[in-house]
Amino acid sequence: MSTDPAGYRRPDAATQPPYDAPAYGSTHLRHPKQPLLRVAHTLSEVAAPRMDAARYPAEADLSVVDGKAAMGERIIVAGRVLDEDGRPVAGAMVEVWQANAAGRYHHPNDQHDAPLDPNFVGRGRVFADADGWYRFTTLRPGAYPWRNHHNAWRPVHIHFSLFGAGFAQRLVTQMYFPGDPLLALDPIYNSTPDPLARERLVGRFNLDITRPEHALGYRFDIVLRGREATPFETGTHA
């Protein structure tokens, strides 16, 4: 008899976007047509790389480069990284990247006719503390066109990449902004069937995170997959 590590729970499909989303053109040739093979979790899925600030230096302020302030509306984004049981994922590595205030990425492939800002790169990295809190300072990004369909514009968003305690918790997502009229028109945002799951992708204005005379604050909590309740017992006899 042996005790295997507890696996991670599978999400309810309605709370996640599908691989094949007809309204999002780039999925057409990139979604697998064969069913995925479900695997019972082993150490390969429940272990995760050790990500820490010694190896991956933190970069919590995107609003300043070499002491020079980027142009745009400075904001603070903060929240907690939790698992599905509400437990903080201490030490989770949170990477972010985004367009500048004019809606352009510091990226050679972004040819949108909007100005680059020499004082804005648009990437950051922070680690959740013991209670799961993370926080970074940045600029409110701009909306930008993306050619998916006629007159298509992405809603304002910040990309997030997270590493938790198990590789199966790996998450790449986007935080949107409240009240954005483009959300209702966005095929990426709207491809997740459950409206509550979509709304959880929208950061909330938060006066406690807002710093007086400095920057508006937004709260964005992120939930990573939770563990199965009990480790599986396997073996030919109990």
Partner: protein, 180 residues
């Protein structure tokens, strides 16, 4: 207080802002594994879409055990690389050892691969196994795969430490992707 896991969203085409080319070399002299000994290998391949066109804007990550078969040992088994305009990716690493599976069975040596890209609303996971390893025949994941498709997860030995595995997102020769 609990809530379902946050919805995944595509990494889009501009994820390179979090690309750090040195992360593709797990054996880098200034990296965390400089003092770890083992068989140096290169893992390389090309990613193609359903039309056979290169996926030139993908984020590829690997996660593997060290030569000792441990995820929590001295070896830091994480890497990240971008595909080039031919859809190619390349990692330098050490060949992993076999790792524990369920029920104390050993799993054949393998590398977990996660792919993120424009048009991928969730990551695609697969595994890379090594051709010619006799432990492949008893591996619980490989043996669960349709024998006709197993080769999509088995890298071929191209000599001089180079192992090649091409990845097809869709269509003929479609890679076996894992729901992990």
């Amino acid at each position: 207080m609990s809530s379902p896991a946050t919805a995944s969203q595509t990494a889009g085409p501009f994820w390179h802002l979090i690309e750090f080319p040195q992360w593709a070399d797990l054996t880098h002299a200034d990296g965390p594994n400089a003092a770890v000994s083992g068989e140096r290998i290169t893992l390389a391949g090309r990613i193609a879409d359903g039309a056979g066109a290169p996926v030139a804007d993908a984020l590829v990550e690997i996660w593997q055990a060290g030569p000792d078969g441990r995820y929590d040992g001295a070896f830091h088994g994480f890497g990240r690389a971008a595909t080039d305009r031919d859809g190619g990716f390349r990692f330098r690493t050490l060949r992993p050892g076999p790792v524990p599976g369920r029920g104390n069975a050993l799993q054949a040596p393998h590398v977990t691969i996660a792919i993120f890209a424009r048009g991928l609303q969730k990551p695609l996971f697969t595994r890379l196994y090594f051709a010619g390893d006799s432990r492949n025949q008893a591996d619980p994941v490989l043996t669960a795969v349709d024998p006709a498709r197993r080769n999509t997860m088995i890298a071929t030995d191209a000599g001089e430490g180079l192992w090649r595995l091409d990845i097809r997102l869709q269509g003929e020769g479609e890679t076996v992707f894992l729901d992990i």
